[in-house]
């Protein structure tokens, strides 16, 4: 069978990314232009600033993806692009570019759900993942549990009611003066502290469903921090360690519950927060008790990238499931 080369474009948040993936498996190039240094001066992603960087970066990033792969533009078979969910202005840059680029090359366009892309990152790096599987998608924008009956078949079984896990990391890190982005900053501080010296709540909500809520943990962290400071015994590392432990415990226990209920054969993690070491370790330990394998992408494929978009698009490409010229971008998840 002829090889299928797909260009992926991703601009849903603050990374401008392009990648070329062969047959949905082999990454030929993976270019990421991160704006993290620009947004760190604002303490978080500023949508208008992100959109302005995307329009400057999209051309050079796409061009670099071809150069790194050693390919000409006309060598690709399809153009894939994230069209939801994400920052609407940011998504529109990638989508408008991708539509026109595909049209100019006379190639089909594939629209990709960013969350499905994150999950697909696992299939770029691991083979033999058995179904059904449960996948925890955790990032700055999402905290979702997704049931997969087979590849490309997704069912959302629960998500956060308020902040995403990564968002909680960012907000608490900012409050503690640890910097941006919050995930790596809190992980680093937590290594020097000990959980349990301060006590924060584990918010499980209803034990029988798979919804999350992190705004309570965030508020409790802030209150506890203010209290300790008044007493003059505030240790930022201990608080970071307890915050991380509380958040990770909820993520892992909910995932394990779901794995049991749905009788899955694999556990998957995806998204930027899946790079967190505590989360990886606890998930491995708890799933070992159930005898289930845990998969997660390498650090580079956990955070936003376009290889996962190009990879996931291969599923649609094989089915001939292409996007029309009038397709739009959407900030929300709609459905999976």
């Amino acid at each position: 069978m002829k090889d299928v080369l797909i260009l992926g474009i991703e601009t849903s948040c603050d990374e401008t990314a392009a990648a070329i993936v062969k047959n949905g498996r082999e990454i030929l190039s993976n270019i990421i232009n991160s704006q993290v240094n620009i947004h760190s001066q604002f303490g978080g992603v500023v949508p208008e600033v992100a959109s302005r960087k995307h329009i400057e970066n999209v051309g050079p990033v796409v061009d670099a993806a071809f150069r790194e792969a050693g390919l000409e533009y006309r060598d690709i078979d399809a153009v894939a692009v994230t069209n939801r969910p994400g920052l609407i202005g940011a998504l529109l840059v990638g989508l408008s570019f991708a539509k026109a680029f595909a049209y100019g090359l006379n190639r089909p366009l594939v629209a990709v759900n960013h969350l499905e892309g994150h999950i697909y990152a696992n299939f770029l790096e691991h083979s033999g993942i058995e179904f059904p599987a449960i996948c925890l998608v955790v990032s700055g924008g999402h905290t979702s549990l997704v049931y997969m009956s087979s590849i490309g078949e997704y069912e959302l079984i629960g998500q956060t009611r308020d902040d995403a896990a990564g968002e909680a990391f960012d907000k608490v890190a900012r409050f503690l003066g640890l910097g941006y982005p919050g995930g790596p900053a809190i992980q680093k501080a937590a290594e020097k502290g000990k959980p349990g010296r301060v006590v924060l709540p584990r918010v499980f909500l209803d034990r029988n469903d798979f919804e999350f809520s992190f705004s309570g943990l965030k508020t409790a962290s802030m209150n506890e921090w203010n209290k300790l400071k008044r007493k003059g015994i505030a240790n930022v590392n201990d608080l970071a360690a307890e915050f991380q432990a509380a958040l990770v415990e909820v993520l892992v226990e909910k995932t394990i519950q779901a794995a049991k209920k749905y009788k899955v054969r694999s556990i998957l993690m995806a998204g930027g927060v899946a790079a967190n070491r505590e989360l990886r370790n606890l998930m491995k330990n708890r799933s070992q008790e159930l005898g289930l394998p845990v998969y997660y992408p390498s650090l580079q494929l956990c955070t936003d990238n376009a290889a996962m978009i190009a990879g996931n698009a291969h599923i649609s490409y094989v089915k001939g499931d292409f996007a029309p010229l009038h397709i739009n971008a959407y900030p929300g998840l709609l459905s999976l």
Binding site: G43, E56, G59, L105
Partner: protein, 238 residues
């Protein structure tokens, strides 16, 4: 020379195809601001009805600003994609130049205005007696009152006894401008009031003939304004 002009800088979306000085087809829509859904469909329809393919186009023209930030990026992203894919160059044209060109030949002072929100307008001051609009003053983002003072001032200095306002920045302040500019003021009919892809194509053609093209990879909109966050950061409010 086939020029494909693409404009989504304001609430209008427009696409036109010109074969040199001859306008073959133009689409104009000021109905709904869903440019991301409609723009490429319009491009496809214009080309198909003219029995052209995208590969036959010799150059693209695009309005590079000022205008709606998102609208500008949709248009620029589209021409970037088309230009990279086909290898054909892009002529970038100011949205205000494009508007002024609607009234080409008039001896009045031509002032295109775009609604810049926050009680301001993007404005330009042009003499259009020549083949292309000639800028009498730099483009500004300012209050309608500041604009009116500047417009009267430029009109006096350049010996223009009539001032023509056009563009979507006129409507929210129509009454105010009528009071301020009185008998000097003229408003064009609806078909000349908003950006036209045909006018963009005409100016794009002139740039193309001079070989005046944009660097497609680094091309970015002319916003005139900083983003709100950058503005506040600059003032030390963040």
């Amino acid at each position: 020379m086939l020029i494909l002009a693409i404009d989504s800088a304001t609430s209008v979306a427009g696409v036109a195809l010109l074969n040199g000085e001859k306008l073959l087809k133009e689409e104009f829509s000021n109905y709904k601001k869903t440019h991301s859904e409609t723009l490429m469909v319009m491009v496809d329809r214009v080309l198909k009805e003219c029995e052209c393919t995208i590969q036959q186009v010799d150059a693209f023209a695009v309005t590079i600003g000022p205008g709606s930030f998102t609208g500008l990026r949709i248009g620029l992203a589209a021409v970037k994609g088309l230009s990279l894919a086909t290898g054909k160059p892009v002529a970038g044209v100011s949205t205000l130049d494009t508007l002024a060109h609607n009234l080409c030949g008039s001896d009045a002072l031509i002032c295109p205005l775009l609604d810049a929100r926050r009680q301001e307008v993007y404005c330009g001051f042009y003499d259009v007696t020549g083949a292309i609009p000639y800028k009498l003053h730099e483009n500004l983002a300012c209050s309608p009152a500041e604009f009116a003072v500047k417009a009267r001032d430029v009109a006096v200095k350049k010996g223009k006894d009539r001032i023509i306002l056009l563009g979507d920045g006129y409507y929210p302040y129509a009454e105010f401008f009528q009071q301020e500019l009185g008998n000097c003021l003229q408003i064009p009919p609806p078909h000349l009031m908003l950006p036209r892809a045909a006018a963009l194509g005409s100016l794009g053609l002139k740039k193309a003939q001079q070989g005046e093209f944009e660097d497609i990879l680094s091309l970015r909109p002319v916003y005139i304004r900083l983003s709100e966050a950058e503005y506040r950061l600059g003032r030390g409010e963040l």
